[in-house]
């Protein structure tokens, strides 16, 4: 029997190999290995870069398995779902579908492929429900929605494979947790299910496999990790300004170097320009067109807020080589090949080696061909980052993606989902949930807490309470109220953003969606740029912003949050090393560091460029107040933690109020009073003793947890954001998560969701472990404290940063009195 099946498998591989031969391709070893192990019934994680043929590595065995199971498929084709392909970006689904259809068609099978995502019409959904396609391409959110429909277990019963594409993108996010939970259910309802992930290179691939399959699970035991190991040469070329004198010291849009980009665009077939925010993307597009009208019609813009039709049009135009340049954001990070792309330009620091390499990989697609990526610094110090990036690319130093632990908000959402469809029996689900990485060893009493929360909205029943969500009937937890079910379905998803408003022409025509917070700042008649158009704002009507085209010079560009990523520890180390070479002989410096000589000279006028043995502190006074700067070069998150730790400890010495700012180089404590720096040093305030306790206390005095709570409140269903696209108004249920945070702090601080906000800050944002190591390193260094007359070049990007954290040990009334006194002076 065993040999027979092997023979049969061999015949199947031959089918696949023949296909490759017909395309005049040769399968990569990783592809054949994936086919083989898949057909052996194994689960796995495939580590392969974009553009390497990873989709064929898994579509083939899925189709081959079908042929194996149904030798008589031509006469007897069993209906129903056979495989699911999960993609984090719905924009990618079309390409994945095309590659699946190619395999299906060429192998002569009758399989059907369908897409189900937020873009799928209601009519199509209904059709799918009656008759599922054989192969389904969908997003993590849409998969949850399927779990929210009645009789979902029957839909999945005969599903034999699920592929989670771009798993690295999901891993460090709550969408990853959502995926873990979904998989834990599918394992039970689809007993033949094989689970496969595809991931780009990250530091913790082994862990990525464990999270996908479940720690200590049978699936993990019976799994493989396949590495594609396709050598890819990446060349990083910095765009260095001719004259450093006029080059800005602080973060900007990078427009100073726009003219240097034009020849790069002209030289190559298609160039992708990656920006870090959608706002920056808009401005670059606008300015390039203004200065170079010859690019009109040859240039496009692509970011997540632009309407789907436009995005698809742009993607197709890239493929058909109709465009010379596309200004984009991370929205084009992922996906299948864009063959005509020859060149990639990164504007501003990418804040992540994996991301940078992935973007570089967008160019020069033929195997063995060198990928070139241009790095365009937006301010002087980013050249140090460029130098570090080069090194990182050379040594393949990529970051880890840390999985979340104990995300109660996602779990509550998931449990409500199950309650909405067929209801759930806690005993059964608890077992599955504990099998996930996120909720391994979840204590029984916390589980009970969560169940109470779902049913009673708290831990005890009060007579006047009318809380309504999940009800218990014969031991089954279910939602019976149609309103609750409908609101929950609309709310499924864990990517939280500001409430979205659709932007529409008054005469009709959808342009895209935009954050409500931006629209709320506009007055009728204001002109703004969006989706590359200059638009006049008319009014908001039923969650839609009505606009018309305008000819006036644009005044406002939407600013989107996001894009504030942090450096990993490895990358921070490379950054420090790059900076330390400032003191080395010129011939040992990279061109980027050499270009910074004039800036270092300015820095040395009043301060120093620190050597490896030195820890630099700078103090000076400006109109804003007393600035105290510290430079550990440990990346933003460590600085955020260290800044709040240090300010907390200082605030214990005297009542004082700080505003804190950070970047990847250091942090600033700004106050209306000077700190006695000698006292800080004498009291050994950088000690690792009591670090944990102090950090925890400092959190209570800052706003970090408050920001984390925003997502938690939405995901767990306590804040309803409303659905502009669906035209559903829920005004009476919209509340502000900040208000909710205050109410929890004052009246229910023991609530697990409230506590989660603090824990997330600790584990995900503050990276306590790294903080400890950083403090240990500082203890070995010599402190150099420079009292300067004015801001130094190193300090400049930090002190001009507007996004600040606060910490105060003063009494509120005292603080106000002093603020008033200062104002009246």
């Amino acid at each position: 029997m065993a040999t027979k099946s092997t023979d049969r498998d061999k015949a199947l591989y031959a089918l696949a190999e023949n296909w490759f031969r017909q395309q005049q391709w040769k399968p990569f070893p990783f592809q054949t290995k994936a086919w083989k192990t898949f057909l052996e019934g194994k689960h796995g994680l495939l580590n392969a870069p974009t553009g390497s043929g990873k989709t064929y590595a898994l579509w083939f065995p899925i189709v081959l398995q079908y042929l194996k199971d149904n030798p008589d498929y031509k006469n007897k084709h069993p209906k129903g779902l056979k495989a699911i392909w999960i993609t984090p970006l719905r924009a990618l689904s079309l390409e994945i579908k095309q590659s699946a259809e190619r395999v299906i068609r060429d192998l002569g099978t009758p399989l059907t492929v369908g897409i189900r995502s937020g873009d799928t019409s209601t009519k199509e959904r209904a059709q799918q429900k009656r008759n599922m396609p054989d192969l389904l391409i969908t997003t993590p959110e849409s998969l949850q929605l399927l779990l929210a429909s009645k009789g979902y277990d029957k839909q999945f019963r005969n599903c034999s494979a699920i592929v989670v594409d771009e798993w690295h993108e999901l891993l460090g996010t709550k969408r990853g947790v959502q995926m873990e939970l979904g998989l834990s259910r599918l394992k039970t309802v689809a007993p033949q299910l094989r689970i496969w992930g595809i991931s780009a290179t990250i530091g913790n691939l082994e862990q990525a496999r464990e999270v996908l399959l479940g720690p200590a699970s049978k699936a993990l035991e019976n799994s493989v990790l396949i590495r594609a190991s396709i050598p890819k040469k990446i060349k990083v070329q910095s765009i260095i300004p001719d004259k450093m004198d006029n080059f800005p010291w602080r973060g900007h849009l990078g427009l100073h170097l726009m003219e240097d980009v034009v020849p790069i665009i002209e030289r190559s077939r298609t160039t992708l320009l990656f920006t870090n925010t959608r706002g920056q993307c808009e401005i670059w597009y606008q300015r390039l067109l203004e200065k170079h009208p010859e690019l009109a019609g040859l240039m496009a813009m692509h970011h997540g807020s632009i309407g789907k039709e436009t995005r698809i049009w742009v993607e197709e135009a890239i493929r058909d080589e109709r465009l010379k340049a596309v200004v984009c954001t991370s929205s084009l990070d992922l996906g299948v090949d864009f063959a005509p792309v020859e060149t990639v330009v990164q504007i501003g620091g990418p804040k992540g080696v994996a991301r940078f390499m992935q973007r570089a990989g967008r160019s020069g697609h033929r195997p063995g061909e060198e990928s070139v990526i241009y790095f365009l610094p937006t301010h002087a110090l980013e050249l140090v980052e460029a130098s570090a990036l080069k090194k990182a690319v050379e040594t393949q130093t990529v970051e880890d993606r840390l999985p979340f632990l104990y995300s109660y908000d996602v779990l509550l959402q998931y449990l409500t989902t199950l309650a909405v469809s067929d209801g759930f029996v806690p005993g059964e689900i608890f077992h599955e949930v504990r099998g996930t990485f996120c909720f391994q060893d979840l204590p029984e009493e916390q589980w009970q807490w969560l169940l109470n929360f779902l049913v009673m909205g708290s831990q005890s029943l009060k007579s006047y309470d009318e809380y309504k969500k999940v009800e218990v009937e014969d031991g089954i937890f279910k939602v019976t109220n149609r309103g609750v079910a409908m609101r929950h379905r609309l709310q499924i998803g864990t990517i939280v953003s500001d409430a979205q408003i659709s932007v529409k022409y008054q005469k009709g025509g959808y342009i895209g969606t935009i954050e409500e917070s931006f629209i709320s700042k506009l007055k009728p008649g204001d002109v703004f740029t969006f989706a590359g158009r200059t638009l006049e704002f008319l009014r908001v009507k039923e969650m839609q912003a009505m606009v018309r085209n305008s000819r006036s010079k644009s005044t406002k560009t939407p600013s989107w949050m996001g894009g504030r990523l942090t450096l990993t520890s490895q990358m921070s180390e490379l950054l420090r090393e790059a900076l330390y070479t400032a003191g080395e002989p010129v011939d040992q410096q990279t061109e980027e560091i050499r270009a910074l000589e004039s800036l270092f000279k300015r820095q040395r006028k009043e301060s120093i460029v620190p050597k490896p043995s030195e820890f630099l502190i700078e103090t000076f006074k400006t109109r804003d107040g007393y600035h105290h700067l510290f430079y550990p070069f440990e990346g933003r998150f460590v600085h955020e933690a260290m800044g709040s730790l240090l300010s907390y400890r200082i605030s214990l010495l005297n009542p004082i109020t700080f505003s804190l700012a950070f970047n990847d180089y250091g942090f600033e404590l700004l106050s209306d009073q000077p700190i006695d720096m000698q006292q800080v040093l004498d009291n050994d305030l950088f000690t690792i003793e009591y670090m944990h306790e102090d950090l925890q206390n400092s959190l209570n005095s800052t706003e970090m947890a408050r920001r984390k709570f925003r997502d938690i409140a939405v995901i767990s269903g306590m804040v309803f954001t409303g659905y502009p696209n669906k035209g559903i108004k829920m005004k009476h249920l919209q509340s502000n998560s900040q208000l909710l945070f205050d109410v929890f702090r004052d009246y229910e601080p023991e609530n697990l969701l409230f506590q989660q906000a603090f824990r997330e800050t600790f584990e995900h944002q503050l990276e306590e472990g790294r903080l400890r190591m950083a403090l240990e390193r500082i203890a070995e260094q010599e402190v150099v404290w420079k009292d300067c007359k004015q801001p130094t070049p190193l300090s400049f990007p930090i002190i001009t940063d507007g996004l600040r954290e606060k910490l105060s040990s003063e009494k509120l009334a005292d603080r106000i009195q002093r603020m008033i006194a200062k104002l009246q002076k």
């Binding site: 909205g457 107040g625 209306d672 306590m718 509340s735 009246y747 600040r804 106000i816």
Partner: protein, 210 residues
């Protein structure tokens, strides 16, 4: 700690709860309590802490204790929604309070006036007492000084060292005073202070003039 403030030759006390006591009339003015809001959210599956409900009544009790007013006048948005469980708590509270209660109906007050009358509460669209006009929505009327709510006013204070904070406040312009929202689950709206405005911010247990 309250703060005295004479307005148009009448004496008033600003209370850190956000209530305003009219000394000469022995009348307590309270705006935007939004009772029933927590329950409304809970009814729709948003688990806002239940304790915030009881806290509203505790605050009401404590404030009434401080003045023992003859009359309590709610400047609208007393009840946030349709009838729900909190109405029972409210009826209970009313039965214990000795003062006469008047409600100036706000946009949220959609519960039938008959229900209020059943509790002995008079519901009126507005009230004129001497040269004072009491309304829910701020209004300007010739010859009258207006007390109103609706806005949930807050003020943003900025200081040296890029410090800033937002606090609920009594917002007084030459012919009007807007009271802060009294309720525990209400939110705030920041107003810009102009030269002729006087702003009294609430900082914990104090009322501070800015």
């Amino acid at each position: 700690m309250t703060r005295s403030l004479p307005i148009q030759q009448s004496n008033f006390e600003l209370h850190p709860s956000g209530a305003l006591y009219w000394v000469d009339q022995s009348m307590l003015l309270i705006s935007d309590v939004h009772l029933g809001k927590v329950s409304h959210f809970r009814k729709y599956g948003a688990a806002v802490p239940q304790n915030a409900i009881a806290a509203n009544f505790r605050l009401l009790d404590a404030t009434v204790q401080d003045f023992h007013p003859e009359k309590i006048c709610f400047l609208g948005d007393l009840f946030h929604s349709y009838l729900n469980g909190e109405w029972e708590l409210f009826s209970e509270w009313v039965s214990k309070v000795k003062s006469e209660i008047i409600l100036i109906a706000g946009n949220h007050d959609i519960i039938s006036p008959l229900k209020y009358e059943g509790l002995g509460i008079k519901v009126v669209p507005e009230l004129v007492i001497g040269q004072f006009l009491l309304t829910h929505h701020p209004e300007e009327r010739e010859g009258l000084f207006n007390f109103a709510g609706h806005i949930h006013p807050a003020v943003k204070i900025r200081g040296q060292g890029r410090q800033s904070m937002r606090l609920p406040c009594f917002f007084k312009s030459p012919r009007q005073m807007i009271l802060p929202a009294f309720g525990t689950f209400t939110g705030m709206h920041t107003l810009e202070q102009k030269n002729e405005d006087e702003v009294f911010a609430i900082a914990e247990d104090q009322v501070i003039k800015l």
